[in-house]
């Protein structure tokens, strides 16, 4: 009796994919994961980024950073490790040259911000308060590839709470998203600390600290020695962490999660939604085929249509555990 209990294919387009991240309306849950999408115009020829729900920029720091020495990436089975080192144009150039391009996309923009000291984060966050298209800042307190580049804030719950609260004081218009590191023994502790500090949303997971060794030279392959593992290899870890943070921190606090880590297909995206993610960020997959944005949206719609659901919100956190 397929025809009676399933929607007609014409209805698929009418399925509502919109979500709300801390008061910011998104046309659909898909976003770019910071650092995997540059400043937007790089992908312009390959996919219409207007298909996204929101755009998350590469990390921006006060001063420009040239990044780590080469080699900066190494491929692993079902994943890749990177140690780019937060290469970015710096706050001033970002505002004068890159933001106008983002403006043209007509999407909510979340700016990922990085720093060495608390003052750095505050300076960038303050500068972004006056820009309309920017709807939020994502605190990168979890980049594993920069010495003193944020990870020390990201692994200690009291440091997470302190820096979140400090940046929260200067974010009035913008929403504050805190990006959590998976390189901790209990991610719910850092998640709770971010919530206590005033985070409006949590994004997880950043990359897992990893290492690859050249067995001929017996030295690390990456110039930075270690890198952050991303891609399909980390997806089950990310799904588990989203599930834990959702049930133990985010749901009780009424705070949305932006889930990420190896999302490649619609079925992956749906796992994250079921685990409790409201937003979904794509990273490594964009390197392989930027068109995955469109395919994943189509797949989510089919999944919902097949189950007679009219909105993606019906499956957020719908994981059944006996």
């Amino acid at each position: 009796m397929e025809t009676t209990n399933k929607r007609q294919s014409g209805d698929i387009e009418s399925i509502d994919l919109s979500v709300n991240i801390a008061g910011v309306e998104l046309d659909n849950p898909l976003m770019t994961a910071s650092g995997t999408c540059g400043y937007s115009d790089e992908y312009a020829d390959f996919v219409d980024l207007g298909e996204l729900g929101a755009f998350v920029t590469k990390s921006i720091s006060v001063a420009p950073r040239s990044g780590n020495e080469y080699p900066r990436i190494v491929e692993t089975r079902a994943g890749m490790m990177n140690a780019i080192g937060l290469a970015n144009v710096g706050l001033d150039v970002f505002i004068s040259e890159k933001l106008p391009k983002l403006q043209a996309m007509n999407l909510p923009v979340f700016v990922n911000i990085a720093g060495v000291t608390q003052a750095d984060y505050i300076q960038v966050a303050e500068a972004l308060e006056d820009i309309d298209i920017v709807r939020g800042v994502e605190l990168n307190i979890s980049c594993p590839n920069v010495k003193a580049g944020g990870i020390q804030f990201g692994v200690d719950p009291s440091a997470v709470e302190k820096i979140t609260a400090a940046v929260k004081k200067v974010t009035r218009k913008n929403k504050l998203i805190v990006k959590l590191s998976p390189n901790v023994s209990d991610i719910t502790a850092t998640a709770q600390a971010a919530v206590n500090g005033g985070a409006d949303a949590l994004s997880l997971i950043n990359t897992l600290t990893a290492m690859a060794i050249d067995i001929d030279t017996q030295r690390p392959i990456l110039a930075n020695k270690t890198g952050g593992l991303s891609g399909p290899a980390i997806r089950p870890v990310a799904v588990y962490m989203v599930h834990r943070v959702y049930t133990q921190v985010a749901k009780p606090a009424g705070i949305p999660i932006i889930g990420m880590g190896g999302i490649q297909y619609a079925s992956d995206a749906i796992e994250f939604l079921l685990a409790g993610a409201t937003g979904l960020a794509l990273g490594t997959s964009l390197f392989v085929d930027p068109r995955c944005i469109v395919e994943i949206k189509n797949g989510i719609r089919k999944y919902l249509a097949d189950r007679d659901k009219s909105s993606v919100q019906d499956i957020i956190g719908a994981l059944q555990i006996d």
Partner: protein, 322 residues
């Protein structure tokens, strides 16, 4: 007139027309792109494409393949038994032609060096392959210089074929210097015995067809000039009487070779472009992996440029060698 709507770079589905071994470890791959909606955009010598070294996957078109307790996991036997890399593989274009209305043929010569190229080598005619491109800058063609020397080492030879074709079309006389460790590793069809003293002759079918004489060198002397391609080039510079100002050099091959080519040209005041190779994540200028140090007026005297989008060809005098 160029239709911008149709000439954007993108992801194209290609059919394997030819994939045959041409010498030890080297394969000739001819791909046919026939897309009813978009034409493969114009490309130039020096550019490359990113090939997906993985079987076509219905999940990438938004199809859901779900695992349940009673059905096997969602991976095909092919995926589980043959390692198919996640990231695309950058391969330089050896040529491109329109073979009939609407079909573009791309020619690629690759050497089997790892998982991706090993997978490629197993492809049969008719197989489908995802092509992202065309990518990178192109060799600058200087119509004010009557002669060009093309210096290719090993698998750096193929882009020299594309360059020879373009130069001939622009009435610039190309001479190709092709080096390999041994005759078995030379990816060219040798028609006549090359000059053992390093004099240019019509000894290879591929370069002759593109209007270029060839000098063959092998490290072991098994074919042509015994020694390195850089020695043959230097000798030719001394003997040919071509004035430095009349010549442009284009080169691709191992970095040690290109560095010497660059030094010879800088010494003699010859304009020289070197096509560099780097590990790439995306090829689109986003991931910031494929950095090259390029001289500039900054305080440190250089800044990072991206091999994929600022290059792969850079003027020799601007490259800061590691």
């Amino acid at each position: 007139m160029c239709d911008h709507g149709q000439s954007k770079r993108g992801v194209f589905s290609a059919a394997v027309a030819v994939n045959e071994q041409i010498c030890e470890d080297h394969f000739l791959l001819r791909l046919h792109i026939c897309d009813p909606v978009r034409k493969f955009p114009p490309s130039s010598a020096g550019q490359f494409v990113q090939l997906r070294c993985k079987s076509a996957d219905s999940r990438e078109a938004g199809h859901l393949v779900e695992a349940t307790a009673t059905t096997p996991p969602q991976f095909s036997l092919d995926e589980l038994t043959n390692h198919q890399p996640l990231l695309r593989r950058p391969l330089s274009l050896g040529g491109r032609r329109e073979i009939d209305p609407g079909t573009t043929e791309l020619e690629i010569i690759y050497r089997v060096v790892g998982t991706g190229t090993r997978w490629l080598a197993g492809l049969k005619s008719g197989a489908e392959l995802s092509v992202l491109g065309p990518l990178g800058n192109a060799f600058a063609i200087r119509t004010d210089k009557p002669k060009a020397a093309l210096i290719g080492g090993g698998v750096g030879i193929p882009p020299m074929l594309y360059a020879a074709e373009t130069l001939s079309e622009n009435n610039i006389e190309p001479i190709a210097f092709c080096g390999a460790q041994t005759s078995q590793l030379l990816p060219l069809t040798v028609d006549g015995a090359p000059d053992t003293g390093g004099a240019p002759s019509l000894c290879t079918r591929e370069f002759t067809e593109r209007g270029a004489k060839t000098v063959i060198t092998t490290d072991d002397g098994s074919l042509g000039f015994r020694g390195f391609v850089t020695q043959a080039f230097q000798q030719w510079c001394d003997d040919s009487g071509v004035a430095a100002g009349q010549l442009v050099v284009y080169s691709c091959g191992p970095e040690v070779m290109m560095r010497i080519v660059g030094d010879i040209c800088i010494d003699r005041g010859i304009e020289c472009y070197l096509s560099l190779e780097r590990h790439m994540g995306c090829g689109m200028g986003t991931c910031q992996s494929c950095v090259v140090k390029i001289r500039d007026n900054s305080e440190q005297g250089w800044s990072y440029k991206l091999c994929c989008s600022d290059g792969p060809a850079f003027p020799a005098e601007l490259i800061v060698w590691e």
